[in-house]
């Protein structure tokens, strides 16, 4: 039973990294998975060079969704937006390092979807103010 939820995942689940909020985020996104009630709110602080300087998330849900968010937020700190655009589902699954059944893929990928949503929002917001 234990090999599926390896210790690293349980550790991220119990003590998620980057858990919290930013007081003045440049981008915010909240997403939920209605099937199981997983929920993630992601906040990003992005500098003028397009680099993620600060990242924080809050959420609740299953170990896979929350560990995935914890690992992803570790990974993206210091990354440039164009690098982040290249992050795909394989990157997320590689972080988790366990076999994810098709029924649980939505849990694993919720954090990536939230990240994409946050950046989409930022782009739109920038567009609006640039005009």
């Amino acid at each position: 039973m234990d090999d599926l939820y390896r210790d690293e995942i349980l550790e991220h689940y119990r003590n998620p990294h980057n858990f919290g909020t930013l007081s003045e985020p440049d981008a915010v996104q909240e997403l939920a998975n209605p099937l199981c009630g997983d929920r993630i709110t992601l906040m990003l602080g992005i500098n003028d060079q397009g680099t993620i300087e600060q990242v924080a998330f809050t959420g609740r849900g299953c170990a896979i969704s929350q560990a995935s968010a914890s690992m992803l937020t570790d990974q993206i700190r210091g990354m440039k937006l164009d690098e982040i655009a290249r992050l795909d589902r394989d990157a997320v699954l590689e972080n988790l390092g366990i076999e994810i059944s098709p029924a649980r893929l939505k849990c694993a990928l919720l954090s990536l979807q939230t990240l994409r949503g946050a950046l989409g929002e930022r782009v739109a917001w920038q567009g609006a103010t640039d005009e």
Binding site: M1, L4, Y5, L10, C36, G37, C62, A63, S101, R104
Partner: protein
Amino acid sequence: MTLVRALDPSAIRADFPIFERDFNGRRLAYLDSAATSLKPRVVADAVADYLTRYSANVHRGVYSIGEEATAAYEQSRVKVGRFLNAPTAREIVMVRNATEAINLVAYSWGRRHIGRADTIVATELEHHSNIVPWQLLTQEKDADLEFVAVDDDGTLNLESYEALLRTEPKLVAFGHVSNGLGTINPVRQMIDMAHEAGALVLVDGAQAVPHGPVDVQALGCDFYVFSGHKTLAPPGSGALWARMELLEEMPPFMSGGEMITEVHLRRTVFNRVPYKFEAGTPDIAAAIGLGAALDYLSGIGMENVREHERELTEYALTVLRETVPSIRLHGPPDAERRAGIVTFNLPSAHPHDVATLLDREAICVRAGHHCTMPLHERLDEAATLRASFNVYSDREDIDRLADALARAERLFGRA
């Protein structure tokens, strides 16, 4: 009085081919019968027999296999009528599932009889299929939809029901048994109360018909619906029962072939009840499978089915409390008032993680909101775990569940 015989689940399991399948050296512990039931060999055989030996359409062919198909299909209607103790099989409309039956009533009876400022009463316990059709209808008609409150023990609050009946609703719709918590509602009493208030009553029997005796005449309701796929039959089978005078007066829901006696380019004469409601070629194979499933259940005896599942539920409530003391159990605390459904959560693990761990031991449980999101809001749970039983379930299934839950709780709960 019917003598209640103890079921022998091991003999019953021999009738279900899925238990011959090997799951990494384990037998399947299928504890999700509230989602859908497993199917006995006799049902699969009846379906295969139709598909391979007389797969003609019904109510059309004058050739022999067409007559065989019609006879088998109509025989299933008769079996459904007997199973529900309907006064006549002509009051049985064959549909694809309980959802379709409720939609039929909402679109046909509802659109004719529900008007502006009318009220429909449902309950917080309902499956989405007994909420959303009424939402759409009341939104379209600018009518009101109200909900009977659920008490903390998972039973309906009858004072809240009484208060809502004082608003003189046109229709009251509730489940016979809650799929979320297993609560057996006091349907007879609720039907009488509704009729006194002048309302018609639709009972959703999806979780009741597979698990105990149902007698629509004794209940005295106006509409009763169920799904075949939870009743050991194939998906695509189910029935609506309604009183003849209601069916006679209701307009068609879907239209096309089969439901007509005469079609002219500008006008149509509808077929008689129940065919008026059965447009198009039905799911003949599934309907024939439903007939075989009801025969199979009648052979066991529905009083015996209920007693078996009541006993298992009592066992499960006891063993789960003992093996996993921190478990959060929802629903009525005693097995007398609940069908074979046990809903719960572990304090340290999310339902989906638990269900994934259980799956690795060939234990199938439902994790999520079980199509009852409003009930889960009421319970203040984003999701729960649900174990549900049927004739093939036994104490070993529950022991395996309890042991695996204890291990899951240790894995997630350790500091």
